[in-house]
Symmetry: C2
Subunit: 226 residues, 2 copies
Amino acid sequence: MSVMKEKITIGLVEDQLLFRNGIHAILSGWEDLEVIYESGDGYSVIESLEKAEQIPDVMLVDLSLPSNGDKPYSGEQLTIDLAEYFPTVKVLILSAHQDEKFIARLIEIGAHGYLVKDSDPVEVYQAITTVYEKGAYINQMTLMAIQRNIGKRTQSILQPTSDLTSRELEVLGLVCQQYTAEEIGEKLFISVKTVNGHRANLLLKTGSRNVAGLVMYAIRNELVKF
Amino acid sequence: MSVMKEKITIGLVEDQLLFRNGIHAILSGWEDLEVIYESGDGYSVIESLEKAEQIPDVMLVDLSLPSNGDKPYSGEQLTIDLAEYFPTVKVLILSAHQDEKFIARLIEIGAHGYLVKDSDPVEVYQAITTVYEKGAYINQMTLMAIQRNIGKRTQSILQPTSDLTSRELEVLGLVCQQYTAEEIGEKLFISVKTVNGHRANLLLKTGSRNVAGLVMYAIRNELVKF
DNA sequence: TCTCAAACGGGTATAAATAACCATTGAATA
DNA sequence: TATTCAATGGTTATTTATACCCGTTTGAGA
């Protein structure tokens, strides 16, 4: 620890390369910030941080990380894992959404701040320095979200997809593509009965009433492209 | 027109402020580029460009612009309008999606190039210079999308929502919330038959086969929150 | 070895959605 | 005024989806 002012070290976890580079470029405009870690997905973050020489002071984490193949690893999950493995790291969530449930949930599981993606760069800077110095950055929006959701059981935005088997995911994808159970059976070379079996499990596991719910679930959890 | 090398002027249309600033910062790294116009939505672009002293050479347009209130103005619509009012302006689409239908459609209606948001900044630079010099930037992905969709009737990603009446939108919203036709009838104080009538019209207008299609349509067009 | 869950197949119902048609009202508009 | 169209309500059938029940096989793990 030298006497001179140290830079706040930043980690970026954001799938869109262009956006990530953009933030990087923006943050580089401040001399007291330094991006020392970047990742395009959440899978390897914990592992690579454990090997890293230096752990970032603040992690900017995109809430909607992509599902890489079958096992999605969301910003939510990463927040949980960071809180467990690197409790000293401050986590700032970046999200396109401004949903109160999202916000309250993320704060609850260990995020130290929540920023929407159309924030002003200056606010991002303030959030970073504040979260570094004070341990938390709670702006007006976040505070209200927390207040209004105190006592409410916040539920995971991304329910653990591990609940869904690979076959179920496959069926879910085809359901979203407007295929009927019979067509899905043909495509997967299984009986309609089996397809309906999977579908029934999907309804149960996702807590849906019908296909509409399944599609919404799939999209919320980014299991299908749209 | 002076003899010295002129800068390529850029316009940015992107709703997420942070992303927009990020691109701006990235592009500022090249001396031969200059961002001279920015907008967070598509509504006022044509109007404000008509008043502007200088028209950008290249416009970077986010495909998924937000629907401001009731009348959405998509990147697709902006592309069409730019082609009409400013035919000399080169339009580069920025999109989070890599869907071939999207790409083919955008090129068809006048876009000069298509970039996904996790492109490398260098590619963005190349796209800008190429589209400026050659009039088009077609990369591997775009080319394949075009080739595979030649002859196919490309359909608008965001069909004009005006196609849907307010009542139909109401029904669509409730369908997405997993209500059955009967429940929707109760909620809206109309007969199940009428609800089914609306639903049939919705299927027809959106070109869907079933509810799954309706939900996907609603989400694609940002008619429902998710 | 035993157990459990996943994937598979089937039967029998009912509920719901979808596909055809048809007709009336009222509001907007050419 | 005549026309159009959204919104309403209807009939009749068929197709799908959903909800119960029943089972077997297989592989992973305790």
